[in-house]
């Protein structure tokens, strides 16, 4: 299939879609699905039949629409009407939805305001199809420019031209460290080998982070296309998606997507009639956080115990089964097809000087609008938390926002006006991480927060290197003592000393970054530690709820 033929197919599909007057979209990503949105979709279909609108209405089960706290979400595009989004829709509401399609009148009680900043302030690249297309229907993806980038690349571009676009775009790894993707792929392309691998890291494990899950559940073909483009650019022939077994829906949709893409020759041998061949397999993670670290992930795919090994050699030289390998995060790969389609310059025009494009954040914790957002890099924390996130519930006051999961830090009010990008977060003592954002209000106890994340690192340490294995245990013990009012100034000094030792001597990123939550809370909320040591207890806060 040539790019033009694909465009014709897409146009045909678009026209067919346009000929259907009414469209109903029901979110069936994990969060809404847990509120039985699949049954809701079925019921809406049945009710549409009752009102005689089933023939001219298409009901789609789509991916995440973002505002998880208001789920299940349903969007209705009735003939000649502005699209309307409904929130907290239950099976009992199905007749009302069907009726509104028939009458063209809104169900006023359920309307979700899409002009609110939560929706209006977002800019979607990665999530552009999320909430629009049916993840299990490859035609939906094709109708929305799907596989256009891949077909154009393999038939009209040289691999180095694809690399150039990615380099020009300034795309940086969305998994946490922010390594330039173009550079990573260049290293792989330059390493001579007959066998090279592309691995998609979908082992999302930060507490409170669900960006990758939503992308995989909502738009799996985008990842396949991104991986295929990576393979074409670097000379890889085989790909693996390493996805955690705790994401059954994402796995199911990925499997369907791989099957359909292979059937349509977007994957497999001689893709689109060219010489380029690339296949993708799925490997399931067994729930170890450390397997998100690239060398541990490789060991896990090889069937070994999930433990990291020292780098260098980097995977680009010696990766999976000793072959050159590139490991990219889900969100990174989701950006690839749009970049190739629209050009690196277009992407580089979004965001800040050194952090280009958008970033998907998972808003959680003490915030009104819990859910998934995509915003341009450089937007301030204040805009994210108060405008898009809708502020703090129950009339409470903002205290801190935790970014970057167990490797990140807590940023206080004074940093609210800071533009969020890789470098600003690092300077402030946190990291971008994968994009989890946990908001805390004044009831939160920061020593508890530090203890929670340290406990997480301690139980997720693989136990290979001494500083991480024993250091996280000892730091957790010290935090326990301090949090329970039994700590001394010596304990605090020891804690700070251990933070330095563990950060500078641990083998992999898990250990090296595990002291970050302690360090950042000590930097901004040291008085809370001191008050506990002095015996002046501050009210125990929401430590446990950080996990939710």
């Amino acid at each position: 299939m040539t790019p033009d033929e694909l465009m014709d197919v897409a146009q045909g599909l678009q026209e067919k879609d346009a000929s259907i007057p009414n469209h109903v979209r029901v979110c069936t990503a994990a969060s809404c699905l847990s509120l039985k949105s699949d049954e809701l979709a079925k019921q809406i279909k049945a009710e549409l039949k009752e009102v005689g609108k089933d023939k001219d209405t298409k009901v789609r089960c789509v991916g995440c629409m973002g505002l998880c706290s208001a789920g299940p979400l349903v969007s209705v595009e009735a003939e000649d009407q502005k699209p309307v989004m409904y929130q907290k829709v239950t099976v009992e509401n199905a007749p009302q939805i069907a009726e509104s399609v028939a009458s063209g009148k809104k169900v006023k009680d359920l309307v979700c305001d899409t002009d609110s900043p939560f929706f209006a302030r977002q800019q979607k690249i990665v999530l552009e199809n999320s909430g629009i297309i049916d993840a299990d229907d490859i035609n939906d993806y094709i109708a929305n420019d799907g596989y256009q980038a891949l077909m154009t690349a393999i038939s009209e571009m040289q691999p180095n031209e694809v690399l150039d676009e990615i380099t020009k775009s300034g795309l940086r790894g969305r998994g946490g460290a922010g390594f330039p993707t173009g550079l990573k792929w260049n290293m792989l392309a330059k390493t001579p080998s007959d066998t090279k691998y592309i691995i998609c890291n979908a082992d999302e494990g930060d507490p409170g982070a669900f960006m990758d899950r939503a992308i995989l559940e909502s738009d799996p073909h985008r990842i396949l296309e991104g991986m295929a483009l990576a393979a074409y650019a670097t000379g890889a022939t085989e790909g693996f998606i390493y996805v955690r077994a705790e994401y059954p829906l994402a796995i199911k949709r990925l499997k369907t997507a791989i099957r359909l893409a292979t059937k349509n020759n977007f994957l497999g041998s001689n893709i689109g009639g060219t010489k380029f061949s690339f296949s993708i397999d799925i490997r399931l993670g067994a729930g170890a956080f450390v397997c998100g670290e690239e060398t541990a992930l490789i060991a896990s795919i090889e069937g070994k115990r999930g433990q990291p090994r020292p780098r260098p050699p980097f995977p680009a030289e010696k990766g999976l089964w000793g072959q050159p390998t590139s490991i990219n995060n889900v969100e990174t790969l989701a950006n690839v097809a749009p970049i190739v389609r629209k050009g690196g310059e277009w992407f580089a025009s979004i965001g800040t000087n050194k952090s280009k494009g958008t970033k998907v954040f998972a808003l959680a914790g003490k915030i009104n609008n819990t859910g998934l957002i995509e915003v341009p890099m450089g937007l301030s924390l204040r805009e994210i938390v108060f405008d898009i996130g809708g502020g703090i519930p129950d009339g409470q006051e903002f205290k801190a926002v935790q970014t970057g999961g167990p490797s990140g830090g807590c940023l206080p009010e004074e940093h609210l006006d800071m533009g969020v990008d890789y470098d600003s977060l690092r300077t402030a003592g946190s990291i971008m991480g994968s994009g989890g954002m946990i908001v805390m209000d004044k009831t939160s106890n920061m020593v508890d927060v530090a203890r929670f994340f340290m406990e997480f690192c301690m139980s997720e340490s693989c136990g290979k290197c001494i500083p991480c294995r024993v250091g996280t245990y000892q730091m957790h013990e010290l935090l326990n003592r301090i949090a329970e009012g039994e700590g001394t100034m010596e304990d605090l000094a020891k804690l700070e000393e251990l933070c330095e030792v563990v950060a500078n001597t641990s083998l992999c990123g898990l250990g090296q970054t595990s002291p970050n939550p302690v360090r950042s809370t000590l930097r901004y909320f040291r008085h809370e530690y001191l008050e506990l040591i002095d015996g002046k207890h501050i009210p125990a806060g929401a430590g446990q709820e950080v996990a939710s």
Partner: protein, 239 residues
């Protein structure tokens, strides 16, 4: 066609030395009588890089690198010791001593223990962290040997020698983090192991009194390692 291995010149502790690019900093340093302390490393077994005792500073690299796993490259400038590295080595040893029950006075390896020697060498004379005092079992089910988990430092030398030299792969790690421990077979008592060949290599490479010969009393367990370079030389291994 075999890959061409180049000879490179590098500086270790202000001394200009030459080494092959497939040799590690540790190997080249030791060839030139420059001492870098190690624990999990054992010549003749594959590198593991877990104990972090051999961390060295390489100019231009922001992180400390394990000398046992980092290969030489042209123009590299290595510092094997500075005040920071010395302090880190001591801290790591303190962590290790606090982890399990290392009580030298009642140990069969007292006086011939690598952990003990390392602590003396690095000047670690006390542990400033609270001891964990975990309760570990002693596996005496084997006819000839004993496994005392209280003294294990998880260096994995036993796992590596059994897998790489003996080819039996009796040992492995189970659980993770602070709960990680060495197991034989699928967590069966060592004496019931169907794969153990009773060769004793694991006992001889163990740096502490964790794996020992039965019938030894305090300070009587001296390890014999001569078999390892011998076997490697006979088999033509250059590990």
């Amino acid at each position: 066609m075999s890959k061409v291995i180049r000879v490179v010149t590098l500086t270790i502790d202000d001394q200009e030395v030459t080494g092959r690019e497939d040799e590690t900093i540790l190997t080249v340093a030791r060839q030139h009588d420059i001492d870098i302390p190690t624990l999990c490393f054992l010549e003749g077994l594959s590198g593991w890089g877990s104990c972090r005792i051999c961390l060295v500073a390489v100019e231009g690299v922001p992180k400390l690198l394990p000398a046992c796993m980092t290969y030489c490259s042209e123009g590299m400038v290595v510092h094997t010791e500075n005040e920071q590295i010395k302090a880190y080595r001591k801290s790591i040893l303190e962590l290790l001593f606090s982890e399990r029950n290392h009580i030298c006075s009642v140990c069969v390896s007292n006086g011939a223990c690598e952990l003990q020697a390392l602590a003396q060498k690095c000047g670690m004379d006390h542990v400033s962290l609270p001891y964990r005092f975990p309760s570990y079992e002693v596996d005496s089910s084997h006819n000839l040997f004993r496994n005392d988990h209280n003294r294990c430092v998880l260096c994995t030398r036993c796992i590596r020698v059994c897998d790489e030299i003996e080819g039996a792969h009796v040992w492995d790690l189970a659980d993770r983090g602070i709960n990680a421990h060495v197991i034989s077979d699928l967590n069966a008592p060592w004496g019931d192991s169907e794969t153990c060949t009773n060769c004793g290599k694991c006992v001889q490479v163990c740096p502490t009194g964790a794996l020992v010969q039965k019938g030894t009393a305090v300070a009587e367990m001296h390890k014999r390692r001569a078999f390892l370079p011998y076997l490697n030389a006979m088999r033509g291994n250059h590990g």
